[in-house]
Amino acid sequence: MTEWVISLGGTKDVQLIIDGKRTDGRTLDELRAIRIEAGVIPEADGSSYIEWGNNKIVCGVYGPRECIPRHGASPYGATLKCRYMMSPFSSLEEHSRSGPSRRSNELSKVIREALENVLLLGKFPNTQIEIYIDVLQADGGTRTASLTAAAVALANAGIPMKDMVAAVAVGKASETLVVDLNKPEDNLGQSDMPIAMSHRDKNLLLVQMDGLLTKEEISRMLDMVEKSCDEIHEVQADALRRIYKTEQKEPFRW
């Protein structure tokens, strides 16, 4: 067994990949284990819970319902609102301040702008649809896991969608392209590119990137995303199928 020592401070000298294996033993294009449950919050119109590696995220959806404040309503369709938040106990480091941060503000925006593309908002003028995402336990890749969970919660709420959305981050760690970055790869890797993709037409709905990459690398990474998103889609579809099963269901456990 290789001892993994994650030294914080210097980023260049940390070996994140040894013999094609990553810090958590995965291969380069292997996703972490993903478990999705739909309908976990009985009071919400739609909800989902996702465990993605060590990430634990819960998502609730309300609407379409009256738009508050009223001046935010649009006669052209429903106003989509999204709030992504990290709980103060969600990271291994110190207790962070609760409430929105600059980061969570930005993520709420990009998640909303990804989902707006697949929801048939035009069917519900003057209303609002709210998506609440709370990260309970974080381990790298929360924005993509959140988006994946939110898509399931929206479907669970019965809001008409023209496509399903799955998301995953690809990145570069120790000069190698890897799928689904874990926390050490996220913090110490060279580059991070979270992507959300619609399932049928393979459109890119969320595109972000930091670090340094060439065009060729980005092109290869997009192919990796496509393959992974198909795998994630299967887990999403399975979660939705299971809530409509008629036979005895296992009670949901957090």
Partner: protein, 266 residues
């Protein structure tokens, strides 16, 4: 709010005109699809800051200023300086900007510019170490003074120009001696961003005016250095893989033009 509605209605009226001219291969201000408006940069405009610049793209005007302070480093990067970027969409700059705490637009702008500059590794934050528990903090403030579309590119341009213009403050006994400097801040690359939009059709319009932004279906910003892509951010809308790769080509081409303009201010 009222102005935002007015903006949307006007934009939709102009959209017809816009689409008619787009078919002919130009935009209604006469530009080609991949052409920037006139870009102007002026440096050293704020004498109280260690570095500053005003970038104008057409009428869009952004002021960037650099200040240093002695700060405590982040726990996980104890030897590295701290860079903090903030963007203000001043209410005077556009009828759609409102006073109040930073909204998602200004937060996003600040974070995208920050990401482009940080990822480009153009400044060596390790050189900002003073002693254990003390490092230099570099503050980049971006003031949007007039918004006629595409303040993101103007902000990155102003930010990079301000960094080029920055003089390192003299530090004695863990204190900054204000007004005394130790040569220029060393920069190893020139990050810029190139924003573009799609309206209906599958071609990119670079450096959108405000009207174009208002009717855009897809909004995309790509940060580049001389050799690499250093940041990407999609706003609203969607795009295909081919469209993204095309956008990267455009971003390098136009980015290099912007870097030439930056060279003139050095």
């Amino acid at each position: 709010m009222g102005d935002e509605v007015k903006d949307t209605i006007m934009a939709h009226i102009r959209r017809n005109v816009m689409e008619k001219t787009l078919v002919k291969g130009t935009r209604y201000d006469g530009r080609a699809f991949d052409e920037y408006r006139t870009v102007e940069i002026q440096t050293n405009v704020i004498k109280t800051a260690e570095g500053s610049a005003i970038a104008k793209i057409g009428e869009t005007t952004v002021l960037a200023a650099i200040k240093f302070d002695v700060v405590t480093p982040f726990q996980d990067r104890p030897t590295q300086g701290v860079m903090i970027t903030n963007a203000e969409l001043l209410p005077m700059a556009s009828p759609t900007f409102e006073p109040g705490p930073p909204g998602e637009k200004s937060i996003e702008a600040a974070r995208v510019v920050d990401r482009a500059i940080r990822s480009a590794e153009c400044i060596d934050l390790n050189s900002f170490f003073i002693e254990e528990g003390k490092v230099l903090g570099i503050y980049l403030d971006l003031y949007v003074l007039n918004h006629s579309g595409n303040y993101t590119d103007a902000a990155t341009l102003a930010g990079t120009a301000a960094l080029i213009n920055t003089k390192m403050p003299r530090v004695e006994n863990v204190k900054i001696i204000r007004g005394e400097y130790e040569g220029p801040l060393e920069m190893t690359s020139r990050p810029v961003t190139t924003s573009m939009i799609k309206v209906d059709k599958n071609y990119w319009l670079v450096d959108p005016m405000r009207d174009e932004e208002n009717v855009a279906e897809t909004v995309l910003t790509i940060g580049t250095t001389e050799k690499h892509v250093c940041a990407m951010q999609k706003g609203r809308g969607s795009l295909s893989k081919t469209e993204l790769l095309d956008a990267i080509d455009i971003a390098f081409k136009r980015g290099n033009d912007l870097r030439k303009i930056l060279k003139e201010v050095e």
